[in-house]
């Protein structure tokens, strides 16, 4: 079965859109070990059943907050077929930060550009095709309260789930000063085939340089830990 995870900043209409997609077919539980609500649901599109998982609303994906870690672990470990990133169209700059983190995780992202009605009302002009081209992911304008765009979103999600491998990758560059160390650590990380097979090597390198607690633990367990940590210096 195709699994779709829904993510976004808090208060972008994430739950509303989740409800739009799944209707009444929902199950509410908890993420294992923590009291963060886990909602899953299903919808059927052209005879195919799709599972939808509502991830906690977050601004970032660090290892330091429980909700962020849940969202991040779900994406890196469970590898959902598609990650629908709900972006508040009236606040693009703020919201696209999470989008870039998702792209760094090499998630199969589809953007739901929500609050499209308010975007138009406020006279904000967003070139949807250009945004899609720059980020290398499909972008679908949506209005969660009315359901506008929900059918198109389902269609685009299905298409993305099936074309996973042909997606071109967009790499967000951080400038030479940062890219050099990332490259060095990434080369070291790639020596551990098992680790770099499970997680995107560039993402691992960035997280090692950020001294991300969870990724440093992964590196500690690696037979190549000495080389990786030497590359950091």
């Amino acid at each position: 079965m195709i699994t779709v995870a829904i993510i976004g900043n808090p208060n972008v209409g994430k739950t509303e859109l989740f409800n739009r997609l799944t209707g009444m077919k929902q199950h509410v539980g908890n993420w294992p070990g923590v009291t963060v609500e886990k909602k899953t649901g299903t919808f059927t599109y052209r005879g195919e059943e799709i599972r939808v998982v509502d991830l906690p609303g977050t601004y970032s994906l660090t290892a330091q907050a429980a909700d962020e870690l849940i969202a991040r672990n779900y994406i890196v470990d469970e590898k959902p077929d598609v990650v629908v990133d709900i972006v508040d169209g009236t606040n693009l700059e703020r919201n696209l930060y999470l989008t870039l983190l998702l792209l760094e995780l090499e998630a199969n992202v589809v953007i739901a550009l929500n609050r499209w009605d308010m975007v138009k009302e406020r006279g904000i002009v967003i070139e949807v095709d250009k945004l899609s081209e720059l980020l290398g992911v499909p972008v679908v304008p949506t209005v969660a309260p009315t359901g506008e765009g929900a059918e198109v979103l389902k269609e685009v999600v299905m298409k993305a789930a099936k074309e996973k491998e042909v997606r071109r990758k967009i790499v967000m560059g951080y400038g030479e000063d940062v890219e050099r160390p990332i490259g060095v650590v990434e080369d070291a990380v790639r020596k551990d085939a098992s680790l770099s097979g499970r997680y995107p090597p560039r993402w691992l390198a960035i997280k090692v340089l950020e001294r991300d607690g969870q990724v440093l633990k992964l590196v500690e367990e690696s037979p190549h830990r000495a080389e990786i940590m030497a590359a950091v210096k």
Partner: protein, 77 residues
Amino acid sequence: MAEKRLNEMRKGEKGRVTEIAASGYLRQRVMDMGIVRGAKIEVVRNAPLGDPMEFLLKGYNLTLRKEDAANILLEVE
């Protein structure tokens, strides 16, 4: 141009971030919230007892404890 800490700014004052004098989680968190070098911040208001403070940056409002805001240095416009 004068340099100030974010907690020292008054309502209506605007500035550009020059430095985040924090490390670890606070630094990461503050940067996740969009407070990065070069970001423009305007003080919207103070809570009745002065703490926390509300700011406008990148088109959204953000509230910070004064204690945390003290770590952010700005060039006042």
